[in-house]
């Protein structure tokens, strides 16, 4: 979940969720920053309204993990 947390952190801090920023945050947290995963994260979030996605109950979230 590091990548998601990093994205949430940037979002909450009103910063752009871009490669550079995500990488910076992950590295500051001592986490390995995999370029491909960062790119994938950003691509996945590109078409998403983050506020809405955060607030919208996810289907699977309801399922007891």
């Amino acid at each position: 979940m590091e990548y998601i947390y990093a994205a949430m952190l940037l979002h909450t801090a009103n910063q752009d969720i871009n490669e550079e920023n995500v990488k910076k945050v992950l590295e500051a947290a001592g986490s390995e920053a995999d370029e491909a995963r960062i790119k994938a994260l950003i691509a996945a979030l590109e078409d998403v309204d983050i506020e809405e996605a955060i607030a919208k109950t996810a289907v699977a979230a309801a399922a007891p993990a």
């Binding site: 990548y3 998601i4 949430m8 994938a40 996605a53 289907v59």
Partner: protein
């Protein structure tokens, strides 16, 4: 001072001494307390309070001669068979203890119902006989069933605040329903220049618990909503953060260690949903394993 009998003087002096030597002076009403019960209560209060019965005039005299400010106001709270209580307990606590020590007692003709008096439905100990008519006469629905008198419905026979008639009082006693509360009624209590009346002295413990819970909930709400970190708010904030992060990951289909299985399952169940629609149109449109 006008001429008074010396025993009266002594009694006033002794009351005055008790007033001076205790922080709290209560005015109670001892009406309707049978003597043995009063004895018992006195004994149980022995270490914490003194109950003193006296003539109204003597108590008034003692109160008016006391130097304690405003204590004379207690005079206005003599009711029924007044008695004075002396204690060092917080007056609210005294009231609570006296209320808790009250016991159930039979109704008496002319008493006021302290609450609705209900005769519950069900069997009675009575064998068939004239009592059936007597029950019906006071308005209790009863019939004979399998050799016993049975009350057919719950029946409120005296509403709260109403006077209990002689017939009903005697019937309630025969039914072993004891609707009265007997004990020392603390009408008012004096402490530190103030006279507290019973309505003020009543403590609602359930409300206190509810208030404690409300205060805690409010504090937790404020902490979480204003993002103030303390050991109560942080777990909730973590949960909220986790929920939001999970929502984002799942809604954006980002595979993580926590979302992976759910996203795969989501794809699978979506496929099943589409397959079920499709097979509903044409069973041959899906492969064997999807046919129901």
């Amino acid at each position: 001072m006008p001429h008074v009998a010396s025993w009266k003087k002594e009694e006033v002096e002794s009351l005055k001494e008790l007033i001076e030597s205790h922080d709290v002076v209560g005015m109670a009403n001892l009406s309707d307390i049978p003597a043995p019960q009063l004895q018992k209560m006195r004994r149980s209060l022995k270490d914490s309070a003194v109950v003193k019965m006296s003539r109204k005039t003597l108590m008034s005299l003692a109160l008016s001669e006391s130097k304690k400010e405003n204590i004379a106001d207690l005079e206005g709270h003599m009711e029924g068979q007044p008695a004075m209580i002396f204690t060092d307990m917080n007056p609210f606590k005294l009231y609570k203890i006296l209320e808790a020590s009250k016991t159930d007692a039979p109704a008496k003709a002319g008493s006021i119902a302290p609450a609705d008096i209900v005769v519950p439905k069900g069997d009675t100990a009575f064998k068939p006989g004239p009592i059936l008519g007597e029950l019906q006469k006071v308005g209790i629905p009863a019939k004979i069933d399998k050799g016993k008198i049975v009350i057919t419905n719950d029946k409120t026979i005296v509403a709260e605040g109403e006077t209990i008639s002689k017939e009903i009082a005697s019937m309630l006693t025969r039914l072993e329903i004891f609707p009265m509360e007997v004990g020392i009624d603390l009408v008012a209590a004096y402490e530190d220049q103030t006279v507290y009346t019973s309505d003020v002295l009543t403590i609602d413990e359930e409300k206190t618990i509810a208030d404690v819970q409300k205060a805690f909930t409010q504090a937790l709400n404020l902490s979480v909503n204003a993002v103030i970190f303390n050991k109560e708010s942080v777990p909730v904030l973590l949960q909220n953060a986790n929920t939001k992060a999970m929502n984002l990951a799942l809604n954006a289909d980002v595979l993580t260690s926590k979302t992976r299985d759910m996203i795969l399952a989501k794809a699978y169940s979506q496929m099943l949903a589409v397959a079920s629609e499709v097979s509903g149109k044409d069973a041959d449109a899906v492969d064997d394993e999807l046919r129901e």
